[in-house]
Symmetry: C2
């Protein structure tokens, strides 16, 4: 267990280790005369199953597929919390959000914000001599903690225009390398229900007049392959068709952004990372730490990738992103601790030993949605601790009101995907799943006598993780 904790616990990088990381970068693309630019693209509620390169036969994502073909795609990349604000705070801080203070949504009356002691990725890169810009969705606070040099204009629902708006920043004659944080609001739900369509699906940002520079790709609900975690009902198909359309818009934004990088002559010195903040905006995914909520697309393309187009099975999570990017930039601070660690060493490998366990920690989505969960996820087994299991599982209002959830209820179905509705709403204190034999997480082994040793061992590991990452909710092992 100790070795596991070292791998995911606080990682103190000595000055020596920082120098080594920097050397590792230099060695991997010999001859480069300057530090790489970094582009982090974050889409909103894009599921891992919904890209061509991750095996979806219907949805069209040619630009993302091309990016993956030049780089590496991770098959076990996890957000640590399945909620927008919170997940973005982890992405930008390298810290679990139970420690960085962004326990839930930043906006409106939810009003969560990170601690002033957090040293975020943009601030650290600025200190290391990078130019930094963000565009689109932000959703973290306070701004002093997550400060970028500039916030570029552009509606986050118009991804091609967003990319165009980055031209001047990307093409600047400034000798400094840059960090661009590019966050689309697609394919999040939004824009109301399409009253003119059968089953009145949410629009997922789609609109009749389209968006500048986007060739809208529409989908026939009949052609959709409904994933196992969703109900195969017409309402869900109608919503997935809208969602796919939104995903294809994301893809075109990524395509244009890469074009912008190429036109500026920067692409060959730019690392591009594509991720989604959490799972898709359907009950069963987003806000949950079931696999559809946390196992997400993650494509990393560096200009010097040798084994192009590989899939890597290392278990990485979003607390690793900031350490990884700082590692690329040779900007790892010697006097500061992250929860994650750089996964740069595994980028050329299909299988990476030593990357076999990950953790997740979710507490709030909305302020009214208190449902802390802590997870230890191994390659085969997964333990979920539902700390507030006495509560019914809380709903984000848009998921509750969705045509998919309501349609399934109205049909009188007792299941939603593979899980019973009752099991979805009323969860036990512990859920232990064998993902190999039960990939849909429906057979809870927590009470199975044959698995008590494993359960106890995983509980101990979870508790040790909480200790090392200073999780306030650790006291819930002892008392409410």
């Amino acid at each position: 267990m100790q070795s596991n904790m070292n791998r995911r616990g606080f990682l103190r990088l000595s000055a020596g280790a920082a120098a080594l990381a920097s050397f590792s970068w230099t060695a991997s693309h010999a001859g480069a005369s300057k530090r790489p630019n970094v582009v982090v693209i974050v889409s909103d509620d894009h599921g891992r199953g919904d890209l061509g390169c991750y095996g979806n036969p219907v949805v069209q994502t040619p630009h993302l597929d091309a990016l993956a073909a030049e780089g590496v795609r991770f098959t076990n990349a996890f957000c640590t919390t399945a909620s927008c604000s919170a997940s973005r705070s982890v992405i930008l801080s390298g810290l679990y959000n139970h420690y960085n203070g962004q326990y839930g949504h930043e906006h409106s009356y939810h009003h969560f914000r990170s601690f002033d002691h957090v040293r975020s990725l943009p601030v650290l890169l600025t200190q290391a001599g990078y130019r930094t810009a963000r565009i689109g969705k932000y959703h973290v606070a306070p701004e002093e903690v997550y400060r970028f040099d500039v916030a570029l204009p552009g509606g986050s629902r118009s991804p091609v225009r967003m990319a165009d708006n980055c031209k001047a920043f990307v093409a600047s004659g400034d000798a400094k390398p840059f960090f661009l944080y590019f966050c689309m609001s697609d394919p999040h739900r939004g824009g109301g229900k399409a009253a003119d369509l059968p089953h009145e699906p949410d629009r997922f940002g789609n609109r009749d007049q389209g968006y500048p520079g986007v060739k809208e790709v529409t989908y026939d609900p009949e052609e959709i392959v409904v994933p196992d975690y969703l109900p195969d009902i017409p309402e869900c198909r109608a919503e997935l068709a809208q969602y796919y359309q939104s995903v294809s818009r994301v893809d075109q934004g990524v395509g244009r952004l890469i074009e912008v990088l190429k036109q500026a002559g920067q692409y060959d010195n730019t690392i591009v990372i594509y991720i989604s903040d959490n799972g898709i905006a359907f009950a069963g995914a987003k806000t949950t730490l079931y696999e559809p909520g946390m196992n997400l697309p993650c494509i990393v393309r560096t200009p010097w990738q040798k084994n192009k187009g590989i899939a890597c099975d290392a278990l990485v999570n979003y607390a690793d992103l900031t350490p990884t990017i700082l590692d690329f930039a040779g900007a790892t601070p010697g006097d500061y601790e992250f929860h994650g660690r750089s996964f740069q060493p595994v980028l050329e490998r299909r299988h990476a030993d030593g990357w076999d366990t990950t953790y997740a920690s979710h507490t709030f989505h909305e302020i009214t949605m208190y449902y802390p969960m802590r997870v230890v996820r191994e390659r085969r087994f997964k333990l979920i601790w539902n700390i507030a299991h006495g509560l019914e599982y809380p709903f984000a209002s848009d998921l509750l009101e969705s045509a998919t959830w309501q349609g399934n209820l109205k049909r009188g179905n007792t299941r939603y995907g593979r899980r019973t509705i009752d099991a979805y709403l009323h969860r036990p204190r512990f859920e232990l799943y064998d993902l190999q034999n039960d990939p849909h997480e429906v057979v809870n082994l927590a009470d199975d006598p044959d698995h008590q040793a494993r359960l106890n061992e995983m509980k101990a590991r979870l508790k040790a993780f909480q200790e090392q990452t200073k999780d306030p909710w650790i006291l819930k092992w002892e008392y409410e």
Copy 2:
């Protein structure tokens, strides 16, 4: 019901109403040439039963009793949330904390803070030309929202020294009136357990070397009258003796502060208000919205009180304090809404019609203690809505570990005070009490067929209150 809501709902004071309020003040002390100074004294976890003037036969509080003898003491004054930070935010904003954003503790990892749109008492008084100072416990954030001109020095556990430290501010030759916010940390638990005493009670800030200017008053545990909501066991008596000692220190701080006001020649033009933030730091009071948690001491002494020493039975709450003080100061803004209303009109009355209903709203104490409760409290009946009733009632760590709670458990008692431990820990969705026949709130009438009409009417009133005060948790009527 509508009239009830108007009385406690958003109160928009027109310019005319503000002028009237100002006139009312002028009329009530004709000849005064300047606006009154205001001193708000807030003690920490001081129960209503634990002052001589409120009928306690043992605890010695001569200075508080003298203050009450010059003014009015309220017998139905309520905090709206039984937690330090949150309650103080209500005191200083005139808004329920579900709306001002201070949902729970401000310090450490709890990290709750109010919204920037809140216009607090000190800021409004500053704008009206007052000098403002605070001393002692603050516990609200951000500072820009709750800004005072100056924070005077002085450890909040040393109340006489605190009072001495206010001398220069109070005696300043400045022609402006002043607002002094004087917050002692007594009689909060603190200082560890007294290992040298039987039953190892918490010290409640008491220490062997005492405090400057304080004549420590000690109490014999045998003499204590244990209130009905606490267990009459030696551990509890030992802790109450310590608590009383701390209360007597508070009293001496108040005494010295009044001396300071008199010496500066300011007392005859100063309104002094004494309150506690929430109930005593014992399970059964603090953090709960049972009567011992929310029904608190509130003494208001103005220099022009005619009916000196009366008790007033108006149901007032801490959201009323800011509007009341602004009313005294003639500083009510015409363009801003409070949840409370000025109770200046009832100060000379023993009984006040139209002050017959109040509301309370508690959500967090610590960030890990999610237990939202909403209360409508009438003169006779009281409804508590335990929104997260599926959870065991959460404990603040110091209450759980207290000699009183642990001692009661170790003795194998199934009751704690009048309530069963099981009922304390596991609460139903609704609790409806007849306070006339059941002052200890142990006979829940929510399921009583004879009380369904009342229950429904009170639920509707509670919901209307939430609507008018924009309570995010109102959605819990519909879904989790």
